[in-house]
Point group: C2
Chain length 108, copies 2
DNA sequence: CTAACCTATTGACGTTTTTCTATATGAGTT
DNA sequence: AACTCATATAGAAAAACGTCAATAGGTTAG
């Protein structure tokens, strides 16, 4: 098990603003400057209520963790969720859940 | 969605040492001082290679996040995985995975 | 080519986290 | 009661993190 890589993914997930950004990517389809797929930094920035550099910084962390993919089209950078990091996290979680007490594991 | 609570769980998961401790709890059944179920601090400490107070600190974070339950029996504190925090994390992850691109979602 | 615009990077500052040593708490033992 | 052992807490130092203002990079529009 790759503890370092997995920890990096969870660490990226462990911030309220970044979680909010991911949730936004997961739900918002239409956005201010989205011509095609994805959402640009300005949209995320508005949702988070943070400055532009801070927003950019958070998105970079998500990209580095493999949770988000960034695509540059013209002036804008579009973000989409990436299954790569999410699967790393889920694999680790499932291994732990398989060993956790049986009580109420299906309460999802 | 409870971003703060979920972030707290992910933050607890986002550390190599804590991940290693959780993995240890998930796999190790027999331990130095375990008379029944669970593993005591001294076992975790040996696995992590950290000082006793630091180990105790990490375990407290895991307990606070609902990932681990601590039970005091006599002199020892026994730790077991708790489904509570794990399910919070999985619920959030599943919501994101459901919205992620379909490509290779089943690669678990 | 210049100007305007979106995004990324840099530098700085305050806060949080990680880690240790030293000490306290609390339970069993003699 | 005094002692020992396992764990928790306090305090402090170093490192990492989150944040913003200022600036740089790169793209489109005029």
């Amino acid at each position: 098990m790759d503890f370092d890589g997995t920890a990096m993914v969870f660490k990226a997930l462990g911030d309220t603003h970044r979680l909010r950004a991911l949730h936004f990517l997961a739900t918002a389809d239409t956005a201010c400057c989205s011509t095609g797929q994805g959402v640009c930094t300005c949209d995320v920035q508005e949702v988070l209520g943070l400055s532009q550099p801070t927003t950019s910084h958070h998105m970079k962390i998500l990209v580095d963790a493999g949770l988000v993919e960034a695509e540059k089209r013209g002036k804008w950078t579009y973000y989409t969720l990436s299954a790569r990091g999410l699967l790393i996290a889920r694999t680790a979680l499932d291994a732990l859940l398989a060993a956790a007490p049986q009580r109420q594991k299906e309460a999802v």
